[in-house]
Symmetry: C3
Subunit: 181 residues, 3 copies
């Protein structure tokens, strides 16, 4: 399908009213990019956006990144809490074909080691076609803790949904692929 693309594309979607208005610098998105560059051996391109906490805007952007850009992976940052403006999980659920509840469970469990308020995150993950979508929190420290916890399963997940084969830098991040699959 990606006949015109030489490299896998990963989408980073920073969802934040204040960052999209230019009030805050886009630190969460940069944190994601740095981690992906450190962990992935396979060269990849980034598709990068900062948008407000508006459900239709988030859904449209997720669809564009999945259906037109054919991202192997999209990570979102922010908008996963219980506040009225937090609608990232709602948008993710709306566009996904299949939800993967194990991602949210493991990310919350991991964050619980650091903060009792980890249970307030409604972050989830799922697939849309051959794209894996993962919701991450908004703070760089929590982004790292969360993405580090689930990333070992990401390359194999992308294999299973028909995306590109991603290799990790084993010294920084060990991906797990079951034998005989």
């Amino acid at each position: 399908m990606n006949t015109t693309q030489s490299q896998p594309v990963i989408g980073i979607l920073n969802i934040s009213d204040r960052a999209s208005a230019g009030i805050y610098e886009d630190i969460p998105g940069k944190a994601c990019a740095d981690l992906l560059r450190e962990w992935l051996k396979t060269p990849f391109e980034l598709d990068y956006k900062v948008i407000p906490d508006e459900q239709p805007v988030i859904e449209a952007e997720l669809k564009r990144m999945a259906d037109q850009i054919h991202c192997a992976l999209i990570v979102t940052t922010g908008g996963t809490g219980p506040a009225a403006r937090d609608v990232t999980p709602e948008a993710t659920i709306a566009v996904c074909d299949k939800l993967l509840p194990g991602f949210g469970e493991l990310m919350r469990n991991t964050s619980l080691r650091y903060v009792a308020t980890a249970i307030l995150s409604r972050q989830t993950a799922g697939t849309r076609g051959s794209t894996l979508i993962i919701n991450l929190p908004g703070k760089p420290k929590a982004i790292k803790e969360n993405l580090e916890a689930v990333f070992p399963a990401v390359p194999y997940c992308i294999d299973l949904i028909g995306g590109p084969y991603l290799e990790t830098n084993e010294s920084a991040m060990k991906a797990f692929r079951p034998p005989n699959n």
Copy 2:
């Protein structure tokens, strides 16, 4: 919004066919009230009801407590198991704007330390407007174990959804609020 109220209100909803018929004493509701009085430094009023396991009745009561009484928090007890009459989670899901799956996950995980049947509880939590709703089990011992596990995140959750600022008695219950928020 609560211009006429001097104190935050917390709703306790004991959902039990037998307690509402007067066959059993309302021990679960009293257990919740005792814990809240022990843990909360901020003075609060209680709104207190014992109702049968009827989904429309539960939904109506949750809506009344949230929309008319403007409860900061509603805790329900009972009706979370797999039996046909257990419909508390269904009613909660029906009235909530946002679900918070991390509460149910942590409460089941906590109960699993004591009983293998913890996985049978379908208890959840969520928000309706500025009200946080949390399902608890029916037995006082399990109520304490469950509410103790999630309560450190409750005051900050209520901050985020626009409810009143609740302070805890730090010696009995340490609430967690992230710095710089």
Copy 3:
């Protein structure tokens, strides 16, 4: 209800395109049968099927086993991953009256001790009338790890939904029933 049946019936549903086409032997189904025979003291009959990963076929088979055969328990194997052909959870959710999220949470948590890709499993459990349905993975080793983790709660769950009283061989599998219930 099961007036014509002398023994409880347990359904085993192996969901696999390749096993149903005869390409693979039905090892997962046999693994389930062996575990159930080892763990259960109460004599039981098996209803046993191998079917392809087709959601309408899975739903029809779950309904037949629950509504016509009055299975106390149905275990499915396979079809719980993120791939397009994996639709066992979708079929299970579609036929269940009540979902029991604690089963999937505990099974994923258990599998995480062995493989990082445990979070890719979307397996769930739920009830349809007096039948408990549990999704298991496809590999015998993972089937054992998963079913062993949740089985202590299975007999009491079946009590609560009005199914037959199942006793376990205590030396191999300890069922848990709360006192005074």
